[in-house]
């Protein structure tokens, strides 16, 4: 129990970050590199924080009791899903690195908006957020994140076996061929993007009470890159990869706490070494027989006159 007191927050954070890694994995199932998750995560958190602290919603809170928490998850999911469609439809015409950059732009625009609106509390943010279901200790938030994680994994598992999952894979392997075979790429790409948005939104709305406060620092470019690292270090070809990557990379600076000033230096070295020696990610290299690389291992260089193109195949 003492162990839970000390490491409970870290354990819950590992699951939380693993879930965010999975939110990046969702569009990746259809071959789309989107880094929009921090934006949806921040938005979901703001929705929860506003509903849980703003006097305008006092009536809701009184009427619903603990029911208000699932409601914030639902609203986080719905709003992020809708915004996902609005952003996804135009953005998903872009490919590879261009999509990644458009989604980074989206995150940054949301951040600046959050800093400037009064409902989000500006730079200070929103604070004094009531604790979900009267939780007292951080480890109790495992009751939130663990079921969500299990549901998410089940969902992804079912999804990958479904028609939709096969369509995602077809687009991931070769979008033009998929199109030719009657799989409409745009619809499925937007769907995959929206799944990621909804997941990030729910995690955000669960995280506002977890962190006690919410502000514009929650959704940044740094987070985009961190989640990308989760996926790549964990392994991008299986849902276990982003989860493991998120959990391990989140734990790393805490494990290194004893090194004081040097811990981030070592953390950086680990990132370098991991990308050098685990090119398929942790999960990718755990597989008994190395899968034949379905993606070309180096970017095809013979397509553009200046610079190698980032086609969906390379990402």
């Amino acid at each position: 129990m003492e162990f839970l007191q000390q490491y409970g927050f870290l354990m819950a954070t590992m699951l939380q970050q693993g879930l965010l890694g999975l939110s990046l994995y969702a569009p990746l199932m259809a071959g789309q590199l989107s880094l929009a998750s921090p934006g949806f995560y921040a938005l979901g958190g703001y929705i929860a924080a506003v509903i849980l602290t703003n006097p305008a919603f006092a009536g809701w809170r009184d009427a619903l009791g603990y029911g208000i928490y699932p409601l914030t998850w639902l609203l986080g999911a719905v709003v992020c899903g809708l915004l996902g469609v609005v952003v996804g439809v135009p953005a998903l015409r872009l490919r590879g690195i261009y999509l990644a950059l458009a989604t980074i732009a989206f995150v940054e625009i949301l951040r600046v908006l959050a800093l400037n609106l009064s409902i989000t509390g500006g730079a200070v943010g929103l604070f004094g957020i009531p604790q979900a279901f009267g939780f007292v200790d951080r480890w109790q938030y495992l009751w939130q994140f663990l079921p969500l994680l299990i549901l998410t994994l089940l969902f992804f598992h079912q999804l990958s076996r479904s028609r939709t999952g096969r369509a995602f894979r077809a687009i991931r392997e070769d979008e033009l061929a998929a199109d030719a075979m009657g799989v409409p790429p745009t619809r499925y790409k937007v769907l995959a993007f929206v799944i990621g948005a909804v997941l990030a939104g729910i995690v955000g709305s669960m995280s506002a009470p977890f962190l006690n406060t919410w502000n514009a620092k929650q959704g940044t470019f740094d987070a985009s890159i961190a989640y990308l690292a989760f996926v790549l270090i964990g392994g991008s070809r299986s849902m276990w990869g982003p989860l493991l990557g998120g959990a391990l990379l989140t734990a790393l600076p805490e494990v290194l706490r004893g090194l004081a000033d040097w811990r981030l230096v070592i953390n950086g070295l680990v990132l370098v070494v991991a990308s050098l020696y685990l090119p398929q990610g942790i999960v990718g290299s755990l597989g008994r027989k190395p899968k034949p690389p379905i993606r070309p291992s180096a970017p095809p260089r013979d397509e553009g006159p200046v610079g190698p193109p980032y086609t969906p195949e390379t990402l």
């Binding site: 950059l101 458009a102 940054e108 600046v112 908006l113 990132l271 990308s275 180096a298 260089r301 397509e303």
Partner: protein
């Protein structure tokens, strides 16, 4: 808006934009040859500024392992004159270039030889940036450092232009940064367009396999690319540092995000595009009305978002043929 405030805004925009352009030159060079985004560029940029500072001042403050160290108790021989600054900037940039070569050797080449996902270079270079930034802090602390006075000789702090009754004004250092970024662009264009090295670089960029069949040592040219990019980054860091001071170990890293917007806006892999992208974003920021200055930060990204939708290859990038 009258003519003088219009011109003032143009000048401001070019001044802001040339810093972005200068940062982006080395960033885009690596991308154009190797097709990877090198997040460590911001850290090399920072290092260049610190190297130059060490040469021209060598005095460290109260934090870090080097606290209280003064390399030149009687003052650096390079301090106090424009040529001294030029020399330290040159040496500092060369050192930054060498660091970039080491980074290539340790963090990029092994990946290339294993044929790893090019996106992994992003993570690896992020790791390198984390290492460099924190090493700087461990050594010299998180405080700001500034070059001593007199690095630009007797030039005045600002230049004034009369326009009827109104004056337009610009800081001298911003004019210098603008000039240097233009000159560097020109030199880089000449090197890549006209020299044998440049031809080889282009060959490597287009198809490393064919290039090596033609007898071009691909690894050697990649080392040259990294050295040039590091050199450009270090010089950029030094110049930007001379304008704003070296704002701690995160000085260059904070340009990484804006720099990304700049090189994509200009067209990934296009060197003139990076400069154009920087200037366009600078101008856009300068023309944001004062009342909306809070949204300044969003302008670059809104612009990026829109341009990407309209013209995904960026302003000067060439459309890539889709593989069928």
């Amino acid at each position: 808006m009258d003519l003088s405030s219009f011109l003032q805004n143009v000048l401001n925009g070019l001044a802001i934009g040339s810093v972005y352009a200068l940062f982006a030159l080395g960033y885009t060079l690596i991308f154009s040859i190797l097709g990877i985004i090198n997040f460590a560029h911001g850290a090399v940029f920072t290092l260049g500024a610190y190297f130059t500072y060490t040469l021209i001042s060598g005095q460290f403050e109260n934090n870090g392992l080097l606290k209280g160290v003064n390399l030149f108790p009687n003052g650096s021989p390079l301090a106090g004159s424009a040529w001294g600054f030029a020399l330290s900037a040159l040496v500092g940039s060369v050192l930054a270039g060498l660091v970039a070569v080491v980074i290539e050797r340790l963090a990029f080449r092994p990946m290339r030889s294993r044929g790893a996902d090019p996106l992994l270079a992003l993570v690896s270079s992020l790791g390198v940036a984390l290492v460099i930034v924190n090493l700087i802090q461990i050594l010299v602390g998180a405080e700001s450092y500034s070059f001593p006075d007199g690095i630009y000789g007797d030039l005045p702090g600002a230049l004034l232009f009369k326009l009827g009754k109104k004056t337009i004004i610009i800081r001298t250092v911003q004019v210098i940064i603008f000039g240097v970024s233009m000159v560097l662009l020109l030199i880089l264009g000449l090197v890549i367009g006209r020299t044998r090295t440049g031809k080889a670089l282009r060959a490597v960029a287009e198809n490393p396999g064919t290039a090596s069949l033609l007898g071009i040592s691909v690894d050697r040219f990649i080392v040259i690319t990294f050295f040039l990019a590091g050199l450009l980054g270090g010089l950029a860091g030094t110049l930007v540092g001379s304008s704003f001071g070296i704002a701690g170990p995160y000085f260059g890293v904070t340009y990484g995000l804006k720099g990304l917007a700049v090189i994509v806006l200009g067209g990934l892999g296009s060197i003139p595009g990076a400069v154009l992208g920087g200037l366009v974003i600078g101008l856009a920021e300068a023309f944001v009305p004062a009342d909306y200055s809070a949204y300044n930060q969003a302008v670059a990204f809104a612009l990026l978002f829109v341009i990407l939708l309209v013209r995904p290859q960026g302003l000067l990038g060439k459309l890539q043929i889709q593989k069928v």
